[in-house]
């Protein structure tokens, strides 16, 4: 019987090999670096430069374009974010800039980004950034995420009276639209995308891969 099964086993081997190859290729799909395009001009005045974390004198600046509803962005923030903060930003090696890129395909993204701007107005952007990403499962499935986002803001000490006024006025919608236009003009259409020392990389990077790019940007072998 075993002899007659040989073609079948070969077929199984081909399926297994093809599947393993596809999965391996998917692993590397996010890490291809390409040169950063020249900055674009966006109508409506100067574009908000982004929320910054780390020393201005850090040798490497990383710009992250992210969407709060994007699962890969959340995965990156949850799995890699703490390492980056402790080992790269706190040690003065990297200055991190977060640029909002709420994608049209995500129903609740704009609300989340606006909530983060309103928290940022009170000096709580990064805390809200973490709240939003770490509580993805709470607000993303909601048809109206505003209530959950407000709870998240309240939990980090945001003055909810000022927050409510900011949200009701849609105070930062123009800023977010400009950021989207700016990203589009730079040819950035997926999140997360990173600009690291003149190189652009798309996809959620693992810490070790990111560190290699930082070392390269800093001129370290």
């Amino acid at each position: 019987m075993a002899g007659s099964l040989k073609p079948f086993y070969i077929g199984l081997g081909v399926i297994a090999l093809a599947g393993a190859l596809l999965i391996y290729m998917a692993r590397g799909s996010g890490g291809v670096a390409s040169p950063v395009d020249a900055p674009a001009v966006v109508p409506g005045g100067p574009v908000f430069p982004g929320h910054t974390m780390g020393s201005d004198s850090a040798p490497v600046t990383i710009v992250e374009y992210a969407d709060f509803e994007c699962p890969a962005c959340a995965q990156f923030a949850i799995l890699t974010g703490p390492d980056i903060k402790q080992r790269l930003v706190a040690t003065g090696q990297v200055r991190w800039i977060f640029r909002d890129l709420p994608l049209d395909m995500h129903r609740n993204s704009l609300s989340a980004h606006h909530a983060a701007q309103c928290a940022g107005e009170q000096g709580r952007f990064w805390e809200m950034h973490d709240q939003i990403f770490f509580n993805h499962g709470r607000w993303v499935p909601e048809r109206r995420p505003e209530r959950v986002l407000r709870e998240l803001a309240g939990a980090i000490g945001v003055d909810l009276g000022r927050y409510d006024a900011c949200m009701a006025e849609n105070r930062y919608v123009t800023r977010l639209q400009q950021l989207k236009a700016d990203a589009a003009a730079r040819g950035i259409s997926s999140t997360p995308t990173f600009e690291i020392g003149g190189q652009r990389v798309s996809g959620a990077l693992l810490y070790d891969d990111l560190k290699k790019l930082v070392d390269r940007a800093a001129g370290r072998p």
């Binding site: 199984l12 399926i15 297994a16 699962p71």
Partner: protein, 137 residues
């Protein structure tokens, strides 16, 4: 043979989703983000175990039993077919529950999960047909 080949494909699909879940893969090839929404929902794990990992284990078991059933010592035994019917039956029931959650609770469709549903239903159908044919002999 059909069960073993399909279980291998199902195993690869589950492995793909599980590797994403544990952060090995950067982004899922899913089109509209539905896979990520489903995978990040609270329903994507049971008692702390990712559903995708349960899929890996389940398909691995079906694959192993199906292969065992093709070997000379077991080729005329009924238990491998019975085991595949049982395992795939559990898989069909669980997949049905997960599909209901996607439709009625999460409001998002995970295309890879739907591929898995088709696979497990086909395995169950094929194994059941084989079992009925065996019982008539």
């Amino acid at each position: 043979m059909v069960s073993a080949a399909l279980a291998l494909v199902g195993l690869l699909v589950s492995l793909y989703l599980w590797l994403w879940k544990i952060g090995v893969l950067g982004a899922l090839a899913c089109g509209d983000g539905g896979c990520e929404r489903v995978q990040l929902s609270p329903y994507a794990q049971v008692a702390g175990i990712p559903v995708a990992l349960l899929g890996v284990v389940g398909y691995l078991a079906i694959f192993a039993v199906s292969l065992a059933g093709l070997q000379d010592p077991f080729i005329r035994r009924r238990w491998p077919t019975d085991a595949v019917v049982l395992l795939a039956g559990i898989g069909v029931a669980f997949s049905g529950y997960l599909t209901y959650l996607e439709a009625a609770v999460i409001h998002a469709w995970c295309r890879w999960c739907l591929v898995s549903v088709v696979i497990i239903v086909t395995i169950f159908g094929a194994a059941l047909a084989g079992r009925i044919a065996e019982s008539r002999r």
